[in-house]
Symmetry: C2
């Protein structure tokens, strides 16, 4: 039942990049997933002729592309990094399909960003720290490459802050399985509430509480189209994703358990009064 | 260990209106607690020369006053109701202190609103349903007094969706006590996730899912001033409020347990990386 944990030296994206994992990620945009950053981005873009934004752990890159589109009229640009070449090439295809000339891609570990100190005006990471065994080390590196006067913007799910209606038993078990596999992979189940704490640790005295703005944002899946987008992604993930293999391997669930979860999500999609709420911690760090 | 539950026939605000209960409520405004309503309110106020808004279960009335201030330039007005004359007179004093000529107050039960069908363009309730044994009956009554084309706006905590950092044991126990006393008083601990379901029940076929917009909003207490506002209100509530009496009466806690919770909140206020997140369900019902 022990499982190798990724460490600061051997970074990995434990959930993997199967289509089942990334499908729902592609629903994400700067508007629905980085709204806390946008007012700061606008403020900095107005002050900075060629603003440079680093998007760390960009994954399928839909938020990165959407940030690039936001910066295009201001002359700003985005560099999107990930540890996986495969997902970066998918992200690049997406950017091409959006006709975005101001975004580039580069493989990099968040623990060792291959950039000089203060290189970027904005450094952004979305749902990245929750997969890492040492989130404060990653934030320290993001702070290093951020220019004084710039901002580091973080958003992380608080995986325990998840509520579903109706509360079918198989859906509650699904939530338990999701949290347990994340933790078994060395991830963080309470990222949302811990963001401020990680940031102050990472700052190691160079940041005061006044340099950090904290809040929470949510995702809600309740209208039919949103239920379908979420539910179908979860069904695919249960059919083919890492959650199934890992969950069975760790003895957290069984083939039958997985089949029940699939049926429960399929039923949930068709349920008119179904709702799913997820809460994310959001932090803006103003680098002194 | 049994306790009389309020019913649809004998409404009561179980937490009571001691200063310790209402102090934190006064932090609330339309901006931080009814943001989901404001775009609809602006749209309706532009169409409607003398818009009438009913605020149900207004309590200390700071949200009501803030809605009245918002409507003042448009010629709209607010009628704020509550089941307690005492709290309404406090709400009226607050409105007077704000120089608001367009708000009036009237005692009323949410289960039997003393108004004709379709009397109001907007009907609003904030953290009211979670105290009721029959939320759908209350929503049915709010729908009745709402004019066709108007909106019913609801916002309810999902009391289980509460996360605190650092996770001191006494703070987790406090959360458990808060939820348990609410439920023991006949309240609803999962209001946020159930709002859509209650609304469709209340509509009894007259509402389709397309008439209901659903989302979630949050409160975050993390910056020093917000930590102090929340923490001091919780300490006061533990010292003198209904939670202490009820918790001890029901055997949910002890005098010593309460004292530990007080110490834990006092320490939390002084903790630089402390954070509290709370998630609220938000619904806009467009009355057909």
């Amino acid at each position: 039942m022990t499982t190798p944990h990724p460490t600061a030296d051997t970074p990995a994206y434990a959930p993997g990049h199967a289509a089942s994992q990334t499908k729902h990620h592609e629903w994400r945009t700067a508007q629905n997933s980085a709204a806390h950053l946008l007012p700061h981005l606008d403020r900095l873009a107005q002050q900075t002729p060629h603003l440079k934004l680093l998007d760390v752990g960009a994954g399928s890159g839909t938020i990165s592309a959407s940030l690039a589109a936001h910066l295009l009229p201001h002359g700003g640009s985005v560099l999107a990094t990930d540890i996986s070449d495969a997902i970066l090439s998918r992200a690049a295809s997406h950017a091409t399909s959006q006709n975005l000339p101001n975004i580039t891609f580069q493989r990099a570990s968040v623990y060792a960003l291959p950039f000089p100190d203060g290189e970027f005006h904005v450094v952004h990471a979305h749902q990245v720290l929750c997969h890492l065994p040492d989130p404060a080390a990653a934030i320290r590196e993001m702070l290093r490459v951020c220019a004084p006067g710039g901002v580091v913007a973080l958003r992380e799910s608080d995986m325990r802050m998840w509520c579903v209606w109706p509360e079918r038993e198989a859906l509650l078990k699904f939530h338990g399985l999701m949290v347990d596999t994340l933790v078994a992979n060395g991830g963080q189940d309470k990222g949302g509430r811990r963001l401020v704490s990680w940031v102050l640790d990472a700052g190691a005295g160079s940041l005061g509480r006044g340099d950090v703005e904290a809040g929470f944002g949510t995702w809600c899946y309740s209208e039919e189209g949103d239920r379908r987008a979420w539910g179908e992604a979860m069904v695919e993930r249960l059919r083919t994703g890492q959650m199934r293999e890992k969950g069975i391997e760790l003895g957290l669930t069984t083939e039958e358990g997985i089949e029940e979860m699939i049926k429960a999500w399929e039923g949930w999609i068709e349920t008119d009064d179904a709702t799913l709420g997820i809460m994310n911690g959001e932090v803006i760090v103003k680098k002194p």
